[in-house]
């Protein structure tokens, strides 16, 4: 039954050594959740606009949400910290109390389930280099989109991202990229009237 379920095993089960790294990552996110709760609560305390004729002012609901975030953040931080300590000491996969292992869903038949709505959970080791390159590419896309123009830049971004993802046929992809970019530009800008950034080389007509 389990022979065909691909990618369903947890990261830590597949790569025991990656356990500590994953635990650090989880700890950072847990602290971030806590910080988020803190920002919400502090903000809620500052909403003194007055309730006016309302019984409940603008700060009450944000306060509830903030406290929820704080509590979750605190619980997660503590359990993740314990997890990390456990991983560093024994390298065992001792998950926190009541916290399931990451990214794994159990079906009724008991099989681990891969690729859910949140399929990203269980992949390791990961290509940090590619993630960084992709992030850089997106920053460039956002910064240059308006000055350079939609189709001019999009063809290039398309090609570069295929490169990041291991595409080998650069020239073919460049061609596909620009054909797609121009087609999209004409359909959305000219036919549907969306108004995409023109950049310096507006095509007349």
């Amino acid at each position: 039954m389990s022979a065909d379920s691909s990618g369903g095993t947890t990261a830590s089960a597949k790569h025991p050594r990656a356990g500590a790294g994953a635990a650090v990552e989880e700890l950072i996110i847990a602290v971030a959740v806590f910080a988020f709760g803190l920002v919400m609560v502090v903000g809620a305390l500052g909403f003194d606009g007055g309730a006016g004729y309302q019984v409940v002012g603008p700060g009450v609901f944000p306060m509830i949400v903030g406290v929820l975030g704080l509590v979750c953040g605190a619980v997660l931080t503590v359990t993740r910290a314990q997890l990390l300590v456990g991983r560093i000491r024994g390298g065992t996969r001792d998950d926190g109390p009541g916290e399931g292992s990451r990214g794994e869903h159990e079906g009724p038949a008991g099989q681990p389930i891969a690729g859910s709505d949140e399929p990203g959970g269980a992949r390791e080791p990961i290509g940090w280099r590619r993630v960084a390159l992709l992030a850089g590419l997106l920053i460039g896309y956002a910064v240059l989109l308006v000055p350079v123009g939609f189709w001019q830049l999009t063809g290039l971004v398309f090609t570069l991202s295929t490169k990041i993802f291991g595409g080998k046929r650069f020239v073919r992809n460049l061609l596909i990229g620009y054909v797609l970019a121009l087609a999209v530009y004409f359909l959305f800008d000219r036919v549907l009237g969306v108004g995409l950034p023109d950049g310096y080389f507006r095509i007349a007509g």
Partner: protein
């Protein structure tokens, strides 16, 4: 019978040539994108939602409804032929569908999925047509305290039934609710959490958020995964059709699936996964050919696929009549409504009557189109399965950016989408569910509004939620839904330890 009359009017609009065309384009594009490996319905909808907004409301919603169904049909194709479920509710399909494909019965698996989805989807839509007006009446009678309790229940079930950790789910929910609070408070004019950024005065763009959390984060997680993880595609020879015995084995699971999926989907509670898993379990238990299970029992495809589609349709009831989306995909549909300043809720069937009935009619038409489209044309879709990953990801990036830009013409929103994508990527990696974030951000304002109205009625007395019997019962159920999974998990853990 009022419903029927309205529905006929809806059909007359939906059958207008232009709207038929939109429905056809919608189901085609929905299938096309949904069939791409790894792009589940929620991602497909997030990716395509902003692009539909360039049209006028009726056309856009007809188009989007087509995409809604098409994306799900596309998803079952990847589940059967590649063993990749686009979302959790397609998992049972992979358990039997993929082995069927390996045995050379992929065509039959696809056929039973398509026909079963059609049958169940159509039955469920008929249910939606007749039950929605009734539910609207119930919705109108709801007092703020009860409305609040129902929303809390929906939130809790979405949170605790979807992910693997309740605390992480609640953290996601808090993040979503927090994002929904950004901007000017509608009651007092108080600016909240805008941090002096002018674009945030009107709140966070939910389109950017959705595109980021679903589409861009998918690109990041593909980037992190490395190229080695490609799954072999099972080829498809022979026609996409079933033999006599397969028909005989399919029709009962279809009906049972519809019977499970529709009522569960119609509840204002999360968890589209439940009916599909239930259907799988029931079919397995009822089957006389126990040895076939796991090796490609057609009932295991027919039942869950029917249940999935029926549940998908069933979620329209809480969505349209209460304004409560109970899945990420339903959230996308709510977002589409909101983009046109249409607020689904108890009054929707009165205030937007022609639009809603056109939408429902075109969903019924879309189901027929999908059946016609899918059986003969599935071989074309299968070709899309082998699209090189680099091209697919590049396409996701381009269309995400195009979509966000065309919905707001703002580079800030594009950056927001990219940022949400990166954050979403890290959250997903660590097992935080995404659905509560988007549903929290969408529903947070409504939840707060009902909360404040209830508190105004009680003049600040917090116990109102517990002294009103209906709201107390619903909140109690919510607490139970929150605690139950953890209790069950601990129980089974203790049992496992005890038996060792």
């Amino acid at each position: 019978m009022d419903s029927l009359m309205h529905l006929f009017e809806g059909f007359s609009t939906a059958f207008a040539l232009q709207n038929l065309l939109f429905a056809l384009v919608g189901v085609t594009i929905g299938t096309l994108v949904g069939v791409l490996p790894g792009l589940g319905p929620a991602t497909t909808l997030a990716l395509l939602l902003p692009l539909t907004l360039v049209f006028e409301p009726v056309s856009a919603l007809v188009l989007f409804a087509g995409i809604y169904y098409g994306s799900m049909y596309g998803g079952s194709t990847t589940a059967i032929l590649m063993n990749i479920p686009g979302e959790t509710s397609s998992v049972p399909t992979t358990l039997e569908g993929y082995p069927m494909a390996r045995r050379g019965r992929g065509g039959a698996a696809l056929a039973t999925a398509a026909i079963g989805s059609f049958v169940a989807g159509t039955l469920a839509m008929i249910g939606v047509v007749f039950l929605s007006p009734l539910m609207s009446e119930v919705g109108k009678a709801l007092q703020p305290a009860e409305y609040f309790a129902i929303m809390v229940f929906a939130f809790v079930t979405v949170t605790s039934l979807v992910g693997d950790s309740v605390v992480k789910g609640l953290a996601s929910l808090a993040i979503g609710l927090g994002i929904g609070l950004v901007g000017i408070d509608s009651l007092t004019g108080q600016m909240r959490y805008a941090f002096g950024v002018a674009t945030l005065n009107d709140g966070v763009s939910l389109v950017s958020l959705a595109v980021g959390l679903f589409a861009i984060s998918e690109a990041f997680s593909l980037a992190s995964r490395g190229p080695e993880g490609s799954t072999p595609i099972i080829g498809l020879d022979g026609p996409v059709w079933m033999n006599k015995q397969e028909w005989k084995r399919s029709w009962k699971p279809w009906l049972r699936g519809a019977g499970l999926g529709f009522p569960i989907g119609a509840l204002p509670a999360g968890g589209a996964e439940i009916p599909t898993f239930l259907s799988y379990t029931i079919e397995r238990r009822l089957s006389r050919r126990k040895s076939e299970w796991g090796k490609g029992a057609i009932e295991g495809v027919a039942g869950p696929e029917a249940a999935n589609n029926a549940a998908f349709s069933g979620t329209l009831i809480p969505l349209l009549t209460l304004g409560i989306p109970t899945s990420a995909t339903a959230g996308m549909l709510l977002l589409a409504f909101q983009m046109y300043n249409i607020q689904p809720g108890p009054l929707l069937f009165e205030s937007e009557s022609p639009l809603v009935w056109t939408l429902l009619a075109s969903m019924l038409i879309g189901n027929v189109m999908l059946l016609v489209l899918n059986l003969p044309m599935v071989k074309i879709w299968v070709k899309l399965l082998s699209i090189p990953e680099p091209l697919m990801v590049a396409g996701i990036l381009v269309f995400s950016t195009l979509g966000v830009w065309s919905s707001s013409n703002s580079i800030v929103d594009v950056c927001l989408a990219y940022g949400a994508g990166l954050v979403g990527f890290f959250l997903r990696r660590s097992g935080y569910p995404i659905a509560p974030i988007i549903i929290g951000a969408l529903l947070g304002p409504l939840l707060e509004e009902q909360f404040r109205r209830a508190m105004s009625f009680s003049q600040g007395d917090w116990t109102i939620f517990l002294t009103r019997p209906v709201s107390a019962v619903i909140l109690l159920l919510a607490v139970a839904a929150l605690v139950a999974p953890a209790v069950f998990r601990r129980l089974s853990k203790t049992k496992a330890i005890a038996s060792e």
